[in-house]
Amino acid sequence: MSDSAPQGLMVEEDQRASEGIVVNDFSIQVATVNGSGSQSSNNVIMRSIFQMGIPVSGKNLFPSNIAGLPTWFTIRANKHGWIARRKEIDFLVAMNAETARDDILGLEPGRVVVYEETLRLNQIRKDLVFFPVPFAKLATEITTDSRLRKLLANMIYVGVVGELIDIDPAEMEVALTKQFKGKAKAVALNKQALEIGRKFARENLDRSKVPYRVARMNATAGKIIIDGNSAAALGCMFAGVTVATWYPITPSSSLCESLANYMHEHRIGPDGKATFAIVQAEDELAACGMAIGAGWAGARSMTSTAGPGISLMQELVGLAYYAEIPVVIFDVTRVGPSTGLPTRTQQSDILAMVYCSHGDTKHIMLIPSSPAECFEMACDAFDLAERFQTPVFVMTDLDLGMNNWMSDAFTYPNRTFDRGKVLTAEDLQRLGRFERYRDVDGDGIPYRTLPGTEHPAAAYFTRGSGHNEKAIYSERPDDYKRNVDRLSRKYDTARTAAPQPEIEYGAGARVGFLAFGTTHWAMIESRDQLQREYHMPTSYFRLRAIPFTSHLKEFFEKHDRVYIVEQNRDGQMEALVKLELPAELCSKIRSIRHYSGLPIDARFVTEATIAAEEGERN
């Protein structure tokens, strides 16, 4: 995964800057209502820009209902490869009467607005570039069907935008065809709408008033566009998952749903039979319980959920921790507490996962930052779960899980699965004995057998209550301590086995950043801003998993201050860092928190950092 901007771009000088035209560095926002099909239209814009080789990102800000409420889709084209959310909007497509006024008022002077003629937005402000378009009217040229008209109006604005910022028509057609999976009729209709939009713009709108253009680049070669949930699903499939049990919840539903689609295409044997079972459970307790039961019986099993589900899984996760059963749990986090904001993003289930369940418990958690990492870490998760015979959490968030991301194509996991310490009948024959919870290898990881193993010594009794090394029920203090001390040892063993952090030491940097997950994208852009605008070199510790490694201490030792940047109110990762660090380093901890529910943006980090740094000086 490329951590810094694509090479050779920072240098490139923009010839047309002189003409006051910004090329490949602006954002377009489409304001509409959900359930109106605008998502497809926006994907077409995003894809066609992507196909022109220009780095692009899309953020869908949608409500927690099904249809009729305001939705904003922001497409950012950036030649430097910055794909984090950007606050400032350069080009607005105002299709929603309800929010149009606020949308307009939020813009900087001189920005461009394409809007449904009848909304008369040009009355509201004078300092913007207005392009009224009779979308509804134009749509009637194509069809009389009112529902269809709504949809087509959305494709018409795609044409208008394309024309105004110079998107290659050929690429738009390719993108459109891809979007409608080649469904001939839909493609034809939409092409027509697209063309109508382009034609209208060509004939009625003065392009010279639009200071934004796209121009072909070569920065997206070998890249793909995909959402994190699909990426994670692919990872699970290629990790050989055999049992997936889940319960629908935003924003994680699409993970298991796309998994089901992929599996039906790629995991049906030659005999037409499935090499997997995907079951929609009645709730999260059942989903988690089924996955644990399957893990106990030897399947690579998983479930996927969001905050409320994590709360409901607490008891069963504690069972899997203490009885030592592998299971992979994805938490595509959203805004909490409680039901919170189901369609907004946050990184606030960290403590709920790492300390999941009552009693002394601590868990492994992997934190992908990109679709490519969703893919890789899904594979890692199953290996770790089976190696360590314990629940492994994978934390993504709504931003990563549900938005479309430009990502490196995934590399095939060329390695044999690590199925962990499982003894077969043959092994037992050889060894003669087997004690389920004995630390034979000194790494805290015991050996297990699977039900169905044909050997008289294979069987053991699994329980969430006290047990000794032979898995016999025990309330003896010494048995209890030996067992839980081993569990701690096992957790320590996991430190070096889990994905290691990615660390970049900035030359002469006295300040470091620690970030993880989707915060990464705002982080790297902010570091660039700090360097360019404030000549402030910084180092960067991208955390990729809990438990921590020795790198953490080292990173803190090498800097005066380390800003932990995260998307929650209480600084949950900061807490874990402080608990991990030796006392003498704790004074170096600084914290930057963004928790409004919108994805964090680079400018926020930069400003917070500068403000804090000035504070340090005084």
Binding site: I224, L234, H266, M290, G293
Partner: protein, 349 residues
Amino acid sequence: MSTTMTPPAAPKQVNRLGLSMADYKGGDSTLCAGCGHDAITAQIIKAFYEYGVEPHRVAKLSGIGCSSKTPAYFLGQAHGFNGVHGRMPALATGVMLANRNLVSIGVSGDGDTASIGMGQFVHMLRRNIPMMYIVENNGVYGLTKGQFSATADFGSKAKSGVMNDLPAIDICAMAIELGCNFVCRSFAGDPKQMIALLKAALGHRGTALFDVISPCVTFNNHDGSTKSYKYAKEHEELLHEISYVPFFEQIEVDYKPGETREVELHDGSHIRLRKTGADYDPTNRVQALDMLRRTYDSNEFLTGLIYVNEEKPDFLSMLNLVDSPLAALPQSQTQPGPAALDKIMRALM
């Protein structure tokens, strides 16, 4: 759940697999002397022995409670999983998804099933997960010292003297309502009936529900209790006398027609039901619910094979799984090749 091995000419003290009763025993019980649960455990051991199930193919599951401890007391050569309170159905579902070749037996209590476990119980029945699910029903929470459970009968008196003022949940009626295809009720004090039903259940494909009245001698065996040995003996309403003919034995036809019904099970075994009173057809769902309702209202408890239907598919068969256990599939079968990933990637470029 059938097995295809042919019976060897075995000496008297071993079963058709050449295994002795001892091979089906477990650890020593830590339950109260006289607990109904121990009586059920004894019949489970006997049934698996006589049927000749390979112990290593069995998965024992349970929730939490005195009843849920019992899987540790039988089939010591089978893997066991004593889960958390009320969540055994989900665990069992996962186990069967992972390894369809296992013979799974779940033991639960009335609290574990009808109180905290009701949700999962209902959905397990709805899915028809292939397993034997035994509710050791004593109307109280034994392990937490005798509070009423959701199967405590209206008007039943607790040891403390408190009266239960809520109606009991009839697990069997609920199961039939939810499409369970093998529903029976028995009594810890009636080993003969129980073992016949247990062996029959081993031949059923799908969830086989056992509601077994299993008196708690410590907290619910006093006068005024409706789950005591005494009360059960006095109020048991026998549907029929049950005998079982395993698939691996000849069936000699030696009974007057009209007096007996026979039901054939998936594995080819037969259960023979000899009339005790009015004729009763256990394949008639409406009659079954009716009968349960009437006995419920008259505070009798009905025992026997209440409902059976050998036609319905179980959950696994609906999933169209490969024949070998999912847990046992090699990487070559569970990981698509590089070409597949490449194809997917190209489509996303």
